[in-house]
Symmetry: C2
Subunit: 212 residues, 2 copies
Amino acid sequence: MTVETARPRRTRIQTEKRELILEAALEVFSAHGFRGSTIDQIAEAAGMSKPNLLYYFRRKEDIHATLIKRLLETWLAPLRELDDIGDPMTELRGYIRRKLEMARDYPRESRLFANEILQGAPRIMPMLEGELRALVDEKVDVIRGWMRAGGIARTDPFHLIFSIWATTQHYADFDVQVRAVLGPDRGGEGRFEDAARFLESLFVKGLSPRPD
Amino acid sequence: MTVETARPRRTRIQTEKRELILEAALEVFSAHGFRGSTIDQIAEAAGMSKPNLLYYFRRKEDIHATLIKRLLETWLAPLRELDDIGDPMTELRGYIRRKLEMARDYPRESRLFANEILQGAPRIMPMLEGELRALVDEKVDVIRGWMRAGGIARTDPFHLIFSIWATTQHYADFDVQVRAVLGPDRGGEGRFEDAARFLESLFVKGLSPRPD
DNA sequence: GCAAATTTTGACCGGTTGGCAAAAATTAGC
DNA sequence: GCTAATTTTTGCCAACCGGTCAAAATTTGC
């Protein structure tokens, strides 16, 4: 028995306007959280009136839900790519770099997610306990395999994943703090490369097998 | 020229009730953010009526501001303790442990702070650019000294501090995600010790000088 | 170019929210 | 025990917020 996902035939205008609204909503929600954002704000950011916006999304919740659902796809992609075959250390470095690139290129998505988790994940709890947990369990097994094979040091794979999430997403979620502390970007290749270099060396050295 | 901080002589009841309100407000604000929280919620959590609460704090903003100001004191304390004298690696391990203990013992404060930063730090920007930045600069110098002396590996001290903040606060701010992924606490010494052990080994190994 | 479908607008509504004011109740000082 | 100061309650209001509705404007299919 399959669930009918009644494909909602959309007109050209509907497709365009919905996209416009989602873009505006991402901007607003990521900056003020769900309750902190008003439909009026989103409507104004999208350049339309509130009732007009509500013609495309009947509820504020619907916009948010659509945004979150879409975000999760991109969000878990890097972890999904963590591959069994291939050199462990190279795989992990790749994962860290991809996560860091996401924090740089999609900071609003990161903050939207952070907002949701901070408030107790009221709308995505099932996904955390289901899809996310299953995926992490799967990748933890991969990492454990690497540890047994001596490719990386034996540590807690769960907390390893947490620490990669934390350090990379920090640059999106705590961006204003990072900027305030570092001051105006002083030339060079910029913060991103500095952060990438630091994290790479921290994790590579920190996880190298039998160092003494 | 000193700024007169007109000491507001308080009665016994005022002292007690204000404390009660702040405790309730911390609970509410940290869970729902500033805009997501209502005075009514806080009043109910404090066991009093809304107008009664407003007798002690004339505005919602005032409660929040008081909370934030108080939080910052405790928040920066661990970093202030980072001491020049003493073994570098021991100092850093101590700092990591203290930050992790704070995430465990004061998760609400951590989330209050995270909420504030996430929303662009509208109320504490000056403090970030002033007090916090100065303190970090000072400690960065200490760390640089250690690096020159060969006590720890040469890496970017700013990003080192960021990564310690990120990894430790993660356990408070993203608590629900950590719980969802790890599942019900399965015996043993618990998550806290696991996290402490992992982070300690990651940073100690990752920062040890000339490993090869 | 015309009818039907779609999109946009403006007016509105009920509930919530932050905050005020004044009176009533309580407490503190003597 | 009486008075003045403090605390609490009741009642309220104006602004805001999510959402509805019906009519007007526009676009689409032919």
